[in-house]
Symmetry: D2
């Protein structure tokens, strides 16, 4: 009789810190044993000569999300989770997005309704808090955190989303009290609005104006400001989609001072550049996201941040808005230029392979850094560890077996999201997760989906526990006594 439901045999396993050759024995969807010469499995997969890595976690993706301007993302949980699985991502953490006036609790229920029974892979939810009323702060949010929604995102920009500094302090105090993790989209709203207005007045409505309006100073100013607030209250904050040297420097300096400040970056800041928005016609809109891609020099700084440890997580910020169609980017350009274009680009399926190919195979980051950046740190940051994000006894058997040699050219027709373009069209990568397992079940093979939609489960998140630093920031003690 088989000792295990499944044995993955003979691969080279990597975790966020270790690399070793071992068989993996899976029972009941969990990793039951790691060993050399493990007993037989009911099913066996030969992984000889291959990397065996934890399934990816994408903690920044927008799925079935209604934007504040009323546009629904192209991807729902079916296409989104399928695209994730085909790219090696076995856990997604999209957002339950509050619009102003909404009850947070009701928002969560609506998003559950959109996800229920449709996902190929497991999922959790971050909240987006755009309206921190007394009701939200005093009741809904604390209750939701205790119910397993332990992270939330706030914005310093967008008319419909941005919080004032005072509101940021309110939600920070709550996050501190409840042990939740805050994600921040940090750009100075007024700078962007003011520059945009000047650009529009000057008749410069083309996509490239987006990059000018979203100036690196807008990003670094808001980053510094939120760091200042976080320092005051000694509360952890993760800055999402960091794009440029200025903001990286702010984050690095805060980390050097011992603050619990974390950073995320995304493929668009490694592989796209602002000048792609100069493409003829409206094609430039295909690279419009916020913050925008910067230049080659900034790509180097982002790589430096990855190899040196400034960034904790590498996510896609998958925000799938089509180019064509009534809600598409092209229609937005026609309607009024860059300010009317839905903001965001896809990346869910290419995230892992792009970083593996350009980062690991070029020896810019280690295989262990790759695992940390794409899986383990996400799990720790958002309370899914040790169930997710690692290959260890007791963890869910969410596993990618990588073919590290095959070359592949990214093309939209071979991706599985609901988009009509990819900004990475034509980009060559080497390596792909050819067998992807979720709780011991294959969910994609050779980049193609396998398995039943709806098998993915909702994950309640525990309190976040990022790897470092720990301990109390020893300053601002006077202020901290006020907070209790």
């Amino acid at each position: 009789m088989a000792e295990f439901d499944l044995v993955i045999r003979g691969g080279r396993v990597a975790t966020a810190s270790e690399t070793f050759d071992a068989d993996i024995g899976v029972r009941g969807g969990r990793i039951a044993a790691l060993g050399s010469g493990l007993g037989r499995g009911a099913r066996e997969i030969d992984a000889a000569g291959r990397w065996v890595l934890p399934g990816g976690i994408d903690s920044h993706c927008h799925i079935a999300q209604l934007s504040s301007s009323g546009v629904m993302t192209a991807d729902d949980f079916a296409t989104g989770s399928t695209s994730a699985a085909c790219g090696g991502t076995t856990t997604i953490i999209p957002f339950a997005a509050q619009h102003r006036g909404n009850s947070l609790r009701q928002v969560v229920q609506e998003y559950h309704a959109r996800a229920d029974g449709r996902s190929l892979v497991d999922y959790a939810f971050h909240l987006i808090v755009s309206d921190p009323t007394e009701q939200v702060l005093g009741q809904e949010l604390p209750a939701l955190i205790r119910d397993g929604y332990t992270s939330f995102k706030i914005y310093t920009t967008y008319d419909a989303l941005k919080l004032s500094d005072r509101q940021v302090l309110d939600v920070m105090a709550l996050a501190r009290r409840e042990g939740a993790m805050m994600m921040v989209h940090a750009e100075n709203h007024d700078i962007i609005a003011w520059l945009s207005e000047k650009l529009v007045q000057a008749g410069r409505r083309q996509p490239s104006s987006h990059a000018i309006a979203h100036h690196p100073i807008a990003e670094s100013e808001a980053t510094n400001r939120v760091i200042a607030l976080a320092e005051l209250l000694d509360v952890p904050v993760l800055f999402v989609h960091v794009s440029a040297k200025e903001a990286i420097d702010q984050i690095r300096a805060a980390q050097a001072r011992g603050l619990k400040i974390y950073g995320e970056t995304c493929p668009q800041y490694l592989f796209l550049t602002a000048d792609m928005m100069d493409a003829p016609g409206d094609e430039g809109a295909k690279c419009m996201c916020s913050p925008p891609p910067r230049d080659k020099a900034n790509q180097e700084f982002v790589w430096q941040g990855l190899r040196g440890g400034v960034f904790e997580v590498f996510s896609s910020d998958h925000a799938p808005y089509r180019f064509e169609g009534p809600d598409g980017k092209k229609a937005g350009m026609a309607a009024g230029g860059f300010k009317k274009v839905p903001n965001g680009i896809p990346g869910l399926e290419i995230r892992l392979a792009s970083l593996f190919s350009a980062g690991v195979l070029n020896d810019i980051i280690s295989i262990n850094q790759f695992v940390a950046l794409t899986a383990t740190n996400h799990a720790k940051m958002y309370g899914l560890y040790p169930r997710k994000g690692t290959i260890a006894v007791g963890a869910d058997a969410d596993i990618c077996i990588w073919d590290g040699t095959t070359e592949r050219t990214i093309t939209q027709s071979e991706l599985h999201d609901a988009m009509d373009y990819t900004p990475y069209e034509g980009m060559k990568v080497r390596g792909w997760p050819v067998v992807v397992l979720s709780r011991g079940e294959v969910v994609s093979q050779d980049g193609k989906p396998v398995g039943r939609l709806g098998r993915g489960e909702f994950l309640r998140c525990e309190k976040p526990d990022p790897a470092r630093p720990r301990g109390r920031w020893p300053f601002n003690v006077e202020v901290q006594t006020i907070l209790g």
Copy 2:
């Protein structure tokens, strides 16, 4: 029949990045399996409710070493390795120390002779290079690196040891070519000598003058200088026994720029202070080491460096010179004051418990950081990974089972080195590695030695592979072309 030679059952295992509950199955001295409900072992150890961690690696200790002034350390391989084992350290990397005029190869043979058949735990050797002659650089050192002595230490101070900048460049170029790891004792020799002379002239011969002469500026100047040389050649360097804010800032800034600069610190910079050298009589000499302990503020900066990731390794710099006796510190004071006192203090046995107690139990560093700082990173830094430094399939079963609750007061009479004092006398710690295994064999129990001297094996080191950063430093390309 037992499936394993040994099973450690029911403990909570931690690696440098992971924490999980698992049984550990050992076969042939190696970890054969990690799993829940593993099969029977010929021997079983119950680890329920306990931390199960990799055995410590102490990569900075002086054992059976003849100083350049002709003083032999108190510890030989018998007492040194016993003390190590009783404190949870299962691998030591002492030095084979070249004196000027010596053949490096011959030095290595002599140190092997001192170690052969005497050690309780496994050991490797760093080299100390004080005389980089053509013979040494052109033949001996490359050959030794290939034979498994892949790291060497150099000094910027001490008359008998210090290299000129030019010699540092020569050995750096060699380290770059051969893939060796350089350790640097960085203090500006001339500053120390000049200040010492002024102090002696002023009749200030007491131990406290040692702290004035070894000014933090001496440390940070040399650190900056060696970083500059390393940047020029794009070569990794590890700064040993970093003690003060100024040098930490230099290292952090170099890391922020992407250089492969690493740091080590030691218990004396967390738990001792310079003013202890003001103790009455000659007692202050008991805290004399180089660099000296600093003040409370600097202890905070060292902690910041540990929790924030500036330091890669935490070692003892165990340099056992007795207080009493003809070669002792007291005799040195009598003979001429602080300049005649053998430099160095013990710490091999208390290293792990002191950091566990003050760092992990106070939640200043995580259990995973503790493992990285005391074991895993040493193994990676010096080419012993994955055989040593981790709990993973295939690794040697060098394992500590920790009792995290018992309090213990450090006192020399309960330590196992050959010293007649400990500078930590009276310090309280919580937690101790109560069962310590080396390749599956118990080498200490409840802080007392078990097992046969001489069972420890010599370890050939592979090429170092520190965790991060990777990739080529993209600057100074012109210079690098000269190096070929």
Copy 3:
């Protein structure tokens, strides 16, 4: 017949860069000649053995100003200008303060009405812009700048005064276009309001809560933010009343990058400390100003900023609100605690002597730095140079003759403002401007007023021309092209 109206004979003259022995010949209120052995003056003053310095300019003082909460300063132009003259200040630049809804032009007329015929010394006006409407930005402000009101102050805090980032950009763009100088009171409003509310909720209404609420992070955050906006538009900005290390570091870093960022500090940040607000009863309110005095360590950083050149000007921020009386600080404390206390303290009369005594006589700053910080740089910064702020041919004969030896103990009864206390009561200074001339006329002697109220003239300001740096900030070129 006399060659000059007045000759000041035999003194040692200092300018912002030079020190020389010379007679000064005055004709028609202006300096007509500097020389050795000048011809006779109708009047002669013997300055042998004395410093002869330019009269002080106090470019930050609140005179006859109605606060946004409806409290009038204790000093009107009679008492304010008299106090100035007695302390060696021969030019004051108070504010014409717009309240929201006011026409700026009308505000200026009202302030002129308050000043006309009442001042002992010359005066100009800064504007305070709290309501940058289209009318104000499009018409009034440009016209006023051209009429000689070339500097204006904005606030990032106070409900009735604060501008949004967007409004700051609007006024910056205008300042850039018109060549005006912006002064900024930089504190993050939301931090202060949020902390204040928490303090009040906790029942901590005593004066010391003021220092907690106005946290150094509030100051440095707003400073960084306004620097970011200024960098975006390449526009000069002067930060007034800088109090603490964090903000000083921000300003210094901006200057190091070549930005046109200037700083002002004041006596309260050199001579008062926050713990004075712990005084028994309501006495602590006597030191309440914004930002508040900090601690001894911060005083050192302020001195470092003065000696090293971070600060361009040293002003009083004289904001005279009495302790007693219906509008006084004591009544404010009774009415509701620290949030109800009028914010501000006096300092007009002691500014020069305090810095001369503690700075020049202790050799922390040079006599030339003293002249620059108290006179010349104010004149250049606000468009009064070369008429004011220097001893040079053609300049107004605004001159202080200093007795550098007499000791004096500051006490309110000997000051000439309309206050009922001074926070510097009992402070000892050495040196005082014993003869003070305005356009060649004595306006104070031995610290007592001389001359007719109303002799002081209104000064139209030219375009500012700070000493350095010059040239265009070579970055953000794309943004700058939008501005035209």
Copy 4:
């Protein structure tokens, strides 16, 4: 009868801080009066519409100096001082250069013999200390400092000149005790030697190898090291000929911390680039100096340092070695390549006009900064103030009248040094000092020499008194007590 020997009438005068319209009355070679409508002069010069500035001081030039390798500079005091006068420089401070084994006192006598009766303009001497023996430190140097040789230069590179760190500490302690000013040529000798050797081994003997060997890291390392030593002893140090971002950053950071660290830069770092050394044949040797010119980006950083105040003085480092001839650069190239080429380039005559044209007329620095950088700060730094370096009552009438409009193309045939080339051949400048006065006597007119060789006087220097910062560095107190 004339009231003055000379009146310069109607010009616009600038000092380091002031700008004003005034006549200048000269009596006995000194400025007797500044005034409007001064009385008649025996001689009058019309300066209407012109800048009237202090004569330049060039505090870094090599005249009649025998290099350690036995090459005499092309210029002696006749040609050197003539070239200076024709370019607007009225005071030169060349070096009396000790070779090892020399008595310093005797060296000074020899240099006096070379200068006596030959100079057109006034001169002082710096010492070069290459052999700080007990005799030199204990007797000669202190005596010479008291005799008016109050500054000396040391080297950290060149075999025949470099001091060890210990020797640097010795001379620093002396400079501190005696109040002398230290100038430092800061480059890491070993880096340069090591790289040079590698380049020579690789057969890369062309001039461009000079720029590779003298790497910016060599400069910044030595700069940091000497700053560290200076911080330890709290002693002022001026870094000469700073060329690159790295060293500028070190100096700026030291200044920001309050240290008395000063910087000098030179025309070659503004107007030449390293790639000029790639010129065909041996022409590249015409730009060889140490440190070498860098690239365009570094030129920007040097400009930033000038406009922002990092640099205190702008000198020529005139080191006139001819291209042709037996001791020339071409012969050096023939003899062995870049390591055999005499190091140094001319610049004495173009220094003022080049900075005036590119800096003042482009509004990158103010006219007052120009005066400070080229005259006043030199005088203060080296103890010649207030006799030299300013236009003030009592100062020597060393004055330049500038024609700010005429364009001129630099060409060797119109220069007055003894060189056979200028590296600035063909460079266009606007503005030239068309009348140059030394103690009231014209020494050049329209760029051509006037007056008698030998009229120039030797100047005894007082104790240096740089403008800022002042006060004692409040750290390293323990060390400073040792020094007494």
